[in-house]
């Protein structure tokens, strides 16, 4: 599974069909060690052109290992098609391969040039111009995603704020590790729940790390596997969660921007007119969710499912989310 031998042949067959018999697959390289799917980078050289491409594939070509809330690769590919048609910057999908085929459950998309590492995007000079545009770009991209009619869309799980509280609280209680700050966050979220907005397509993991940024700003929105039907404010708040500001806490949007600017761009691009205070509840939910997710990753060590130091150590990151929650509680009603 880790080497490319089993997929090089079917990939070459696909390249011949798509780019012509003279084309070659070059530089096949596994990118992520993700458990939920494999990501491979490769080029197809045909005549005088090289096409940089990505293969997203279920581990071993079989979909069994994907987590229950993640959508299937075929659904992810369909979402990329629908969002691209709506004008959102996403990689173009060239091919979808069904389970049981030589390639296995997978899809091929164009490899968009740019950077995904948050620290580099926030620090390096080559993204200086991009950083001045990214806040508006994100607002516009989110407005575009949220405006896509859900009626004609592939079947997606539905998860509103209330559903997420129920789900993550059950997981948290299951661990039997009482943490007063998380307890306070659950209780506060329940007592202060906002009126649900009309459900829309939500990306579900819109943040630095899942965005390709080039010298000019946002180049592509990646990682649609947590897409669902939900509340648009969830996406807006998730990119604000301090865990994704990579040390640049002073800039609420991803460490690079101010929320009023993103909300202005969001409204100007057709999204609802929202205030920063309306995002607070969702950012608290976001920090709480990431805290519980760190507990989930640690539990993989505790149960013996993954004996790595990394899984053990991630349990010592829950306190990061706890201080973020406390900072958010202290800031409630204080910002413009």
């Amino acid at each position: 599974m880790g080497n490319g031998i089993e997929i090089e042949k079917p990939l070459t067959e696909w390249a011949h069909a798509h780019f012509g018999a003279a084309s070659r697959v070059e530089g096949l390289k596994r990118l992520s060690g993700g458990a939920s799917q494999e990501t491979w980078a490769f080029d197809v050289a045909s005549k005088d052109t090289t096409h940089p491409l990505i293969l997203r594939r279920a581990p071993g070509g079989v979909a069994a290992a994907r987590s229950s809330e993640a959508v299937s690769l075929a659904t992810e590919a369909a979402l990329l098609g629908a969002t691209s048609k709506a004008g959102v910057r996403v990689p173009e999908v060239l091919h979808v391969s069904a389970p049981g085929t030589a390639l296995g459950e997978s899809f091929v998309m164009r490899r968009v040039a740019g950077e995904t590492l948050g620290r580099k995007i926030l620090r390096d000079d080559e993204f200086k111009t991009a950083r001045t545009r990214l806040t508006r770009d994100c607002g516009e991209a989110l407005a575009g995603i949220h405006a896509i009619p859900t009626a004609g869309l592939v079947d997606l799980p539905r998860s509103l704020g209330e559903d997420q509280i129920t789900k993550y609280e059950a997981i948290y209680r299951g661990f039997g590790m009482p943490r007063p700050v998380l307890e306070l966050a659950f209780a506060w979220l329940k007592a202060n729940a906002p009126t649900p907005a009309a459900p829309v397509l939500v990306h579900g993991d819109f943040r630095l790390g899942n965005l390709i940024v080039d010298g000019n700003g946002l180049a592509a929105v990646l990682d649609w596997e947590l897409a669902h039907i939900g509340d648009p404010r969830e996406d807006i708040a998730w990119v604000c969660v301090n865990s994704w500001r990579f040390g640049h806490s002073e800039k609420r949007v991803g460490g690079f921007g101010d929320l009023p600017e993103m909300l202005d761009a969001y409204a100007a691009a057709g999204g609802a007119r929202l205030t920063p205070a309306e995002i607070d509840w969702w950012e608290i939910l976001g920090s709480l969710k990431w805290g519980v997710m760190c507990m989930i990753m640690y539990s993989a060590y505790k149960t013996g499912a993954d004996p790595s130091v990394e899984r053990a150590a991630i349990g010592r990151r829950v306190s990061e989310n706890e201080i973020d929650l406390i900072n958010l509680f202290e800031g409630l009603g204080r910002h413009a």
Binding site: P180, E183, A187, N242, V309, E310, I323
Partner: protein, 123 residues
């Protein structure tokens, strides 16, 4: 029981071995995990230094907040969670948020002293 070498000295020795001898000979994934391992030992060293006093202070604060005594901070924290869950305590409860903030700052001083949210909390 003797403590020569102490737990602290043993951990420091292993950490120095990872940092100076093992890690430079590793590449890729193994090098990454060596760095994580070294960081985990740094966490243990901070814990040895900070936890005893911080946990005693936490326990004293919990007893004042709950108006009761308990065997451990852990047991009192379970009680505090119950008080929050039942609605007996919330954000408006005097002393609750300052207590949680002090406790979380101490915890992060062990877990992730470089975390940005810790700097924000100190301001």
């Amino acid at each position: 029981m003797h403590d020569a070498p102490s737990a602290k000295e043993l951990i420091e020795a292993v950490k120095a071995f990872i940092d100076k001898t093992a890690a430079p000979q590793l590449a890729g994934h193994a090098a990454f995990h060596a760095r994580v391992a070294s960081n985990a030992l740094a966490t243990v060293l901070r814990e040895l230094e900070i936890r005893p006093a911080a946990e005693a202070e936490e326990k004293a604060r919990l007893e004042a907040l709950l108006g009761t005594t308990g065997d451990s901070a852990n047991a009192l924290n379970a009680q505090l969670c119950e008080a929050i869950r039942s609605g007996k305590m919330d954000l408006s409860t005097a002393g609750l948020l300052p207590h949680l903030k002090s406790t979380t700052i101490a915890q992060l001083s062990v877990d992730q002293p470089g975390y940005s949210g810790l700097r924000s909390a100190a301001r």
